[in-house]
């Protein structure tokens, strides 16, 4: 027992051992994440119904209004600075939630687009390419938008710029998804099953 304690104590605090355990921790984290991603990829299904519901829950006009530079300028000119910062923080937070949800919807859209790309119907496949590409762009843009909106939440006194590309990408993605639905109405139409 005594021998065990005397062997362990200096070893446990040695930088060599600490560094080794840090590396083991990093490796275990990586392993855990890999297993999680693998399990998730097996249970995940492309759910067009869910994507439609997500898209329906997002009000693009409201989002456009929240990030409107003219609106912000009006508020800045007509409100006391403290009140303006409070309002701006609330607006940025609401817009951030919109961007976050749009990003999540884009991920589902991308999966739908890629599934459609594998369709034997050339029109559906071509439309799938458009859906996926728009969705990838939208997803990446939402990351940028989220970061900027988060900055606005934290530092409301900074003057913000408009966020038109995100809105454009969202509209483009939604439009292409609509086109994909229309292509599905042919004789060999592909639409989601209820069980999906």
């Amino acid at each position: 027992m005594e021998q065990g304690v005397s062997t362990l104590s200096p070893a446990m605090i040695s930088p060599t051992l600490i560094a080794a355990w840090i590396l083991v921790g990093v490796a275990l984290f990586a392993l855990g994440t890999l297993v999680y991603v693998a399990i998730r990829s097996r249970t995940r299904r492309v759910d067009l119904e869910g994507a439609v519901q997500t898209f329906r829950s997002l009000d693009i006009e409201a989002f456009r209004n929240l990030v409107d530079a003219a609106e912000e300028a009006f508020l800045r000119n007509n409100l006391p600075p403290k009140k303006f910062r409070e309002i701006k923080r609330q607006r940025a937070w609401a817009a951030l939630i919109y961007a976050w949800e749009a990003g999540k919807a884009a991920t589902v859209l991308a999966r739908i687009g890629q599934a459609a790309q594998r369709s034997s119907d050339l029109e559906v496949a071509a439309s799938g390419v458009h859906v996926a590409e728009s969705a990838f762009r939208l997803r990446l843009q939402t990351i940028g938008a989220c970061l900027r909106l988060l900055t606005e939440v934290l530092l409301p006194h900074l003057e913000s710029r408009p966020v038109p590309p995100l809105v454009d990408q969202y509209e483009r993605a939604a439009e292409t998804l609509f086109r994909l639905g229309r292509f599905s109405s042919g004789a060999h139409g592909f639409v989601p099953s209820k069980s999906a």
């Binding site: 080794a20 392993l31 994440t33 890999l34 991603v37 998730r40 439609v52 991920t107 739908i112 990446l140």
Partner: protein, 253 residues
């Protein structure tokens, strides 16, 4: 022969027999055309095993011979693993011209960052600091394991985040290699810290067992059929119209 040696032989030989099966599967399904680097890696691992196993069992070969051969073959194995990672990343972005540019640029940034971390760790992390060349090889392997597991993790997380669909073989290869490099990182770190005979023997067993798991993942994913887009089925046109109206209503609201 004691149980440890028996288990070690089993865990050493079994994955390489399975790698032989994997090579046959790659040939039969003509996947070596799409995954040439992975195919080369599989063949190389089999050849490496034959050389090392021969050196282990031949009485004339010394421990020094084995160490030299192990270190030299390990270096080329590291290089081939980078090739395999490049191959699976190209496969992942194959269908998207947009991602081919933007995602690869992002991956290059991640690679640069990981290389910097790997170099720093190689310089400051624990290990045999002697001038012996094979000690250097182990340090390089640990740094490479950081870069490789980080890259594979980034690929898997990036694809999950963007909603990118993997083809089953590429996903299996990335997953298996990710498990292998992560385990490599942990084992080489522990080897540097625990140098007792018993600890090294246990780590050897653990490493070979991980390799068996990794090869099993590769075989499992390569043999499994590609998932069909099950969410798409043929339905009557009026139902499609209902969906169309739903989309239209959503877009006009």
């Amino acid at each position: 022969m004691n149980w440890h040696k028996l288990l070690l032989f089993f865990l050493w030989i079994a994955p390489h027999v399975l790698l032989g099966v994997l090579a046959v599967v790659l040939c039969k399904r003509r996947l070596y055309r799409e995954l040439p680097c992975f195919f080369a890696y599989v063949l190389y691992e089999i050849a490496q095993f034959i050389v090392l196993f021969t050196l282990y069992v031949v009485p004339n070969a010394t421990g020094k011979h084995y160490t030299y051969a192990y270190g030299a073959t390990l270096l080329f194995s590291i290089v081939l693993r980078f090739g395999v990672i490049d191959e699976v990343s190209k496969d992942l972005f194959r269908e998207s011209p947009f991602l081919k540019v933007s995602a690869r640029r992002l991956l290059q940034f991640v690679t640069g960052l990981l290389i910097a971390i790997g170099v720093l760790l190689a310089a400051y992390a624990p290990g045999d600091s002697s001038a012996k060349w094979y000690a250097g090889v182990f340090v390089v392997n640990r740094g490479a394991a950081i870069v490789q597991s980080g890259l594979l993790l980034s690929l898997l997380l990036f694809s999950s985040f963007l909603g990118l669909s993997w083809r089953r073989p590429a996903f299996g290869i990335a997953l298996g290699l990710g498990v292998l490099t992560s385990a490599d990182l942990a084992m080489f770190a522990l080897r540097a810290a625990f140098t007792s005979e018993a600890a090294l023997r246990f780590l050897d067993l653990l490493m070979t067992a991980t390799y068996l798991v990794c090869v099993s993942i590769w075989i499992g994913y390569l043999l499994a059929p590609e998932l069909e887009p099950a969410s798409f089925t043929v339905v009557p046109p009026d139902e499609v119209e209902t969906w169309n109206r739903e989309f239209q209503h959503f877009l006009q609201q």
